[in-house]
Amino acid sequence: MTAHRQVSYDFRTVPRSKPRPNRSEPSTVVVVGLLCLAGWAAVAHAVAGEVRGQLVLGALRVATPAKPPRAAFNWELENGVKEVVPARIFAPRELAVVLLGAPDNPNAKAASRVEVVFSGGALLPATLVLRSDTTLRIRNDDEIGHELFADGLDGFSPEATSPGATRSVHLVKPGHWPLRDRLAAHANAHLHVLGNLVASAKIEPNGSFGFSDVAPGKYTLKVFRGPGEIASKEIEVADKPLALDPLVLSDAKGAP
């Protein structure tokens, strides 16, 4: 039974919206402006031992959730009152920026323990890049339980994690594994275990990232999204803080 109600809407308070440009192809002016702003921010805020950078996300396609065997819905319609907002990439969940060094690099001091959370119904971040011999701690901040597992990875079998509880998994074997959740099947996550991981960056929603306490040396900066690597760059860290040029990301390499 459909509930019918007279809807009144004050068009005076809401300006007539103009057609928005396609977000997946930003204009040149916007890109240049962002680059300049990012460069200034990196120079302004970098400190010694730190590496800062900016990811340019405009060219990335929005990731789609796990596709069910049949259609994901019966109806998906615009609300008819206001224009819909295009989807955007949430960089902290979807991307991972890491520094890789030589396997025998004495500066390699990736954390031996890494903590991630279940938030919003899925893992945050959903792209995990960890060093071998790391303990992964998974905390459940949702109000429902989760059962996360990785097919083919010993020690990461389906195990219930109640709301507020934490689960630990020790990772030794290098490789890549998709992570699935029996109780939240829509959530996609990926685990990459690398033997030469040096540091992982904290990513902000606007795409800026930073590494702290990085020892001088040559490194490879990589950006991971889902199952694959989407960007790579060789850098050299000196005694002073390093501000990297903005890194334009695209879906060319292994994007989900």
């Binding site: 039974m1 459909t2 509930a3 019918h4 109600r5 809807v7 809407y9 308070t13 809401v14 959730p65 796990a66 069910p68 065997p69 049949r70 259609a71 994901a72 819905f73 019966n74 109806w75 998906e76 319609l77 615009e78 609300n79 008819g80 009152v81 206001k82 224009e83 819909v84 907002v85 295009p86 989807a87 969940r93 938030s119 919003g120 119904g121 899925a122 901040d141 949702d142 109000e143 429902i144 339980g145 709301p163 029996r182 109780l183 939240a184 099947a185 829509h186 959530a187």
Partner: protein, 562 residues
């Protein structure tokens, strides 16, 4: 008995063909019934998908007014700017009240058109622009606010302004979701989502339109809800086949499975639902009964009154009567009538009206029976003659007829005694003068005990065209030897021809060769024999007859008394 035997074979073949047709019909009917049920299930799936789609649209339309609800919009806008859990908790109770008022409006608007349980959601969420739960109703409503649903596709899309349905698994329960954005001040400030469980009342409602099909919704190997109409397969049967269906390749691709056989004989198909919960193996099963014909007799038991009334009873009855009549007719002509005739002739023999049976009047087994009777009569007479003192000298054909002369070395067609020595051509020799004695009518004589009657004058009978083997009847004697008048000669010639025809026929029946035989020679022999008989007996003529003796055709000569 040829026709009768043919009739029996025809009946046997007809019975076998009818049985084969019944078995074939059983197989054809069962195959068609199975295909029909498979088609029904295919159509049921399409209809159920359409029903679920319409039901989803109805849920979305029902909460259309929430998009611009001012109170809820204001609360969500405030919540979006709040980070303090205490402030959020305060907003939580206000937002919960707003949700309850919203549900009450839904129930009021639907008053009378649907049951309250169909309208009232089992779970409801109000989330802010980041997907954070501000308030909820349902099993988890006592939880503090702050948890997020941001990554759930229905929330994520609603926050971007879409109206969307879904089927989700939340807290290990399956819900049918309707989600809408909330606008306030011209901006998206959050979203509302309603969730409904799969219960038996819902399943009964959606399956009503399918008519006669069992419908069950499942989550993995667990059945969520079902509806089983009378006569449809039981839920337990569907549940038993569920584990196999979950591993079916077509099922995992999102297609329906092929119809699976159930323990009661029915058929079921399994399919995943439309929605994100399909990733968690949430789907439905449809089943229908399948009535198969277990045996050809069950095939007839399943006939309805209309089926019976549609039969062409007059045609079937008339055909059965006609076929039965034909069978009885064949039996009458081939068994009953000859038997009756034989019985009458034997009665005549017993009454003394005739001495023996005329073998050529019968066919097949009856001919053999008649011959056996005649032989029995002969033996009885001989035995009686041996045992009883008698002045009569036993008739000696050799004395009467003498050895049959043969003029050449060609095949011999003589009389029985001489025929036993086929190699030696019998020669005409002057017969020894027999002792005078009264002439007997015919030899051998029938009826041993009573005194022999003279040969009864037998009315000449023209042999029937259908009885080529009829014995030559005794006719009025013709003084053929004396070379009598033309009529007598003609009569004798006719008799000779008749005897010849009978002789040939009997030889064929006895399996003897007729090659080399000719009427001229036969006539010559008969003439000579006649002369011999007449020379010895004062008879006015001689009559010949053919009979079977020891499996061979034989001739008898009988003088006709003056």
């Amino acid at each position: 008995m040829l026709l009768s035997r043919f009739w029996y074979i025809f009946l046997a073949v007809a019975a076998a063909a009818a049985s084969g047709a019944a078995l074939l019909a059983q197989g054809v009917i069962n195959r068609q019934a199975t295909e029909h049920v498979a088609d029904d299930l295919h159509r049921d799936r399409i209809e159920l998908d359409a029903i679920l789609r319409l039901e989803a649209r109805a849920r979305l339309d029902r909460i259309a007014f929430i998009t611009v609800d001012a109170k809820l919009g204001g609360l969500l806008k405030q919540a979006g700017a709040v980070g303090d859990p205490k402030q959020l908790t305060k907003l939580n109770s206000e937002a919960k009240d707003a949700l309850r008022a919203h549900v009450a409006r839904l129930l009021e608007a639907a008053q009378g058109s649907a049951k309250d349980d169909d309208i009232k959601p089992d779970i409801a969420f109000a989330v802010d622009q980041t997907g954070r739960i501000v308030a909820q109703l349902g099993s988890l409503e006592s939880n503090p606010p702050g948890s997020s649903l941001a990554t759930y596709p229905f929330i994520e899309r609603a926050l971007h302004g879409y109206v969307r349905d879904d089927v989700i698994v939340y807290d290990r329960r399956v819900y049918r979701i309707a989600a809408r954005p909330v606008l306030y001040g011209g901006e998206y400030v959050g979203a509302i989502a309603h969730g409904y469980k799969f219960d038996n009342a819902f399943v009964e409602r959606v399956s009503r339109g399918l008519g006669g099909a069992t419908v069950a919704f499942f989550y993995g190997r667990n059945v969520l809800a079902s509806s089983t109409p009378a006569g449809a397969p039981a839920l337990a049967e569907l549940a038993a086949a569920l584990p196999e269906a979950l591993t079916d390749a077509r099922f995992r691709r999102g297609e329906r499975t092929e119809p699976k056989a159930l323990s009661s004989g029915g058929r079921a198909v399994y399919s995943l639902l439309v929605g994100g919960a399909a990733l968690s193996e949430v789907g439905y099963a449809l089943a229908r009964p399948l009535q198969l014909v277990a045996s050809p007799t069950a095939f007839f038991q399943g006939a309805s009154r209309e089926d019976v009334q549609a039969l062409p009873v007059p045609l079937l009855s008339g055909g059965a009567v006609l076929l039965a009549f034909l069978g009885l007719l064949f039996i009458y002509f081939e068994r009953d009538r000859p038997y009756k005739q034989l019985r009458n002739k034997l009665a005549q023999v017993a009454a003394g009206e005739r001495e023996r049976l005329i073998v050529t009047e019968w066919r097949g087994a009856y001919r053999k029976l008649a011959d056996a009777v005649n032989q029995a009569i002969d033996k009885s007479v001989e035995k009686a003659a041996e045992m009883a003192p008698s002045n009569k000298k036993k008739a000696n054909l050799d004395e009467i007829l003498g050895p049959t002369p043969v003029s050449n070395v060609e095949p011999y067609f003589g009389f029985a005694d001489a025929a036993q020595t086929k190699a030696a051509a019998p020669r005409l020799e002057p017969a020894p003068k027999p002792a005078p004695r009264p002439l007997t009518a015919t030899a051998p004589l029938p009826a041993p005990a009573p005194p022999m009657k003279p040969a009864a004058p037998v009315t000449p009978q023209a042999p029937a065209p259908s009885k080529p083997l009829a014995m030559s009847p005794l006719k009025a004697p013709a003084p053929a030897a004396a070379g009598g008048n033309g009529a007598a000669a003609s009569d004798e010639a006719d008799h000779f021809r008749e005897v010849y025809a009978d002789y040939l026929t009997l030889r064929k029946e006895c399996g003897e060769s007729t090659e080399g035989l000719s009427y001229e020679k036969f006539e010559s022999t008969l003439t000579k024999t006649r002369d011999q008989v007449l020379s010895k007996h004062p008879a006015k003529g001689v009559r010949f007859s053919v009979y079977v003796k020891e499996g061979k055709a034989a001739l008898k000569a009988a003088p006709v008394k003056r």
